[in-house]
Symmetry: C2
Subunit: 283 residues, 2 copies
């Protein structure tokens, strides 16, 4: 077991199992052949070919596309084909901040293989004992990744909300971090990956933040999604990541990025180049 | 002018102008067609085809390859075809720490388009005025990038020397940083790029370090390669990078990486994703 195994998990997908979702001449998603067959039942919205899925002619602006696709997704939801409906919209874009081609319900993002966005916070404590990190254990009844180890704060990044505002909101809900404390978080970069998960194809960019917390701060979960929090020496976090799959799959990447930035994994590690290259997709 | 222009400069090369240097079935360099024609004069060492350059049969270990290629390079040097001879060896590898296929003189690295390695140090001062960075102005008589703005410490990473040891050595020679102070530098990641420069094809990985310096530290150049040092507020460094080409081409990437890690460029910048993706090659 090694850090590279955790990275490989986040990059495992079979291109032959998908066809591109092409909008305005750009690949903005990837649809499995099974989903493509289901979308073919809605020819007024999706043009399904063997080599690609496109939107029907006439669906050429944000509003008309978002409305038409929402009708299809609502129909699929009614048939029970989209579990974990969230009631949150995600933009369909190649990169955060670009003008979205349309917006779609979050639960449909892995179904259409469009890009997802999230925000992850490394909750850090510097003390005489060195660097420690707050680790959350996800509730056993969570629908995704029950019981897995997680960041102090992590969540999806919906459309229409600033990344920092979202972080501060999530920090309050998930860990009881007061807004004025959460506002001290520093944007430190991002990681990205594309992999097959039970819910579909995840093609995500996660914005990463570091927050130094006072030693006397204790997190409190307020939304029932966390079973417990514990403060771990960073070396224990890294050993657990290296040796087990106990952390949620994508949390591993964000912590490895932290380890690179803080000199905990340094150029003398023979895997150094593969690790830092593995934390980001090229596009 | 924008940060993306600085990144584009570091990624500009014409694949059609090169043929791969293939060793043990792997592309470990890229040779321009003109250089390939010159290498064809040494058929006992180089097998030059239209679509690739390889080493001659029988050159199948580190020692024999290094010796044979050194003879060719020595001959080319004698003909005046390799300026800036350094007398330092670089490993020929796909990634730092891998077993090298051979070693070659540093001056030949851009000629054969093999991967180069370097170390760059962000010399930082935290004060009541915020974050500042020491900026060096390269001597006007330097052979590469005369008069350009540079890091406090930056240098090539030769074969057989640890990255951190090299950093400490260069910090002493270039900026008069005492070894015990330089040893506090933190490895913070790396940047990589591939671009055409006057000396040939640069395909480099730069290991990046941050060093927080006391306010009363003043750098002293001891090797004559720096005209002057000045402490700049980080916002001025970034503005100069955004608006001019005054910084040496690859220094821009290392400082943009710093800006991403320190939250000086954050996800609300519409170019965020292109910037952090642009700081590293995929392979």
């Amino acid at each position: 077991m090694s850090y590279l195994d955790r990275i490989a998990t986040c990059r495992r997908w079979d291109p032959a199992a998908y066809r591109p979702l092409v909008i305005d001449g750009r690949t903005l998603g990837r649809v499995s052949h099974g989903v493509a067959r289901r979308l073919a039942a809605f020819p007024e919205v999706f043009v399904v070919r063997e080599d690609a899925v496109a939107l029907a002619p006439g669906l050429d602006d944000f509003e008309s596309r978002s409305r038409a696709v929402a009708e299809v997704l609502g129909e699929m939801k009614a048939r029970g084909e989209i579990p974990l409906w969230r009631g949150e919209d995600y933009p369909v874009v190649a990169r955060w901040g670009a003008a979205p081609a349309l917006k779609i319900e979050r639960a449909a993002v892995p179904l259409l293989g469009t890009r997802g966005f999230g925000v992850h916070l490394n909750g850090l404590v510097q003390s005489a004992r060195g660097l420690s990190m707050w680790v959350a254990k996800r509730a056993a009844n969570k629908q995704t990744a029950p019981g897995k180890l997680d960041h102090l704060v992590a969540g999806g990044q919906p459309f229409g909300l600033g990344v920092r505002e979202n972080l501060i909101k999530e920090a309050g809900e998930e860990a009881g971090v007061p807004a004025e404390l959460a506002a001290r978080a520093v944007a430190v970069g991002a990681v990205s990956y594309r992999c097959e998960r039970p819910e579909g194809l995840r093609d995500d960019v996660l914005f990463c933040y570091d927050l130094e917390l006072p030693e006397n701060f204790t997190p409190q979960n307020t939304d029932g999604e966390v079973e417990s929090f514990a403060l771990w020496p960073i070396a224990e976090v890294l050993a657990r990541i290296r040796d087990t799959e106990d952390f949620k799959f994508n949390v591993n990447l964000v912590v490895l990025d932290l380890a690179i930035r803080h000199g905990l994994i340094a150029p003398d590690d023979p895997d150094y180049q593969e690790i830092w290259q593995g934390l980001r997709l090229a596009e």
